[in-house]
Symmetry: C2
Subunit: 130 residues, 2 copies
DNA sequence: CTTGCCCTTCTAGTCACTGGAAGCTTATAT
DNA sequence: ATATAAGCTTCCAGTGACTAGAAGGGCAAG
């Protein structure tokens, strides 16, 4: 199947599929006689795996590791868990940062009248943060 | 004062200060006789303003707008509030996405034994998400 | 005088794509 | 049969917000 069909079935844009090939994430597929990439169901399956992994915020490198483990029938689930756990910790950290930031910003927005006058606690807060 | 001192007082790396100048965020400062950038307290004050704005996650373009409003004594606080409110909405959205993602990942991590066996619900979940 | 740090500019790399150009091949419509 | 459109190929460049590094000049202390 051509890259367009693989794109439809995997949910990844053709550009992204080629990019993943360049990055070494997905092995180069077979080529048809006309030079077009020729994907099979296994290729598509892996592309979907990568899409879901990326969707959960794993980096492309992490996806590469996960995909290797997925294909390694002798893997240890502990190796997978380490990667996932590390990522989970990073997400938790990111959420905490965003919530703190949100709290500060929310406070600033709430104290600003938002009218035609120039007095603005938001700008004051940015200039002289507490 | 040289860029190094402005860096210390503003909390921004010299490279970043030059980058902001390139981006048109901060007007080019005076130059000393030796060609070095020569910052004054007002410059540093603006740099600090930008640092705090960026710290709250405003984009460089948004920082540019906020800084213009900060310097415009005839501004309307409503203009500021619109920018901040929009950013707040984006942060809320980002937090929601991350929390959903976290929930899925947390579930996967929790159901994985993480031992020497190859069976791994994380990989299964990535291959066949529900 | 030389060592070492600070300053200058410019280029290029990061991450994960995405857009576009130029040139094939294939499918569809007339 | 032909015109056109869509799909494929490669390669180059741009995104955001820096950051690293190279090559060169300035300046104070030992």
């Amino acid at each position: 199947m051509n890259i367009g069909e693989a794109s439809k079935q995997s949910g990844l844009p053709p550009k992204t599929i080629r990019y993943y090939e360049d990055r070494g994430l997905i092995a180069p597929p077979a080529r048809a006689e006309n030079g077009y990439r020729d994907y099979n169901d296994t290729d598509v399956h892996k592309l979907r795996f990568v899409r879901h992994s990326r969707g959960l915020g794993f980096s492309v490198d992490e996806c590469s590791q996960l995909l290797s483990l997925y294909e390694d029938k002798g893997r240890q689930s502990a190796d997978v868990k380490v990667i996932a756990q590390k990522h989970l910790t990073e997400i938790d950290e990111k959420i905490r940062e965003l919530q703190e930031l949100r709290s500060t910003l929310h406070h600033l927005v709430n104290t600003c009248q938002g009218d035609g006058r120039p007095d603005c606690p938001i700008l004051e807060g940015l200039a002289n943060p507490s």
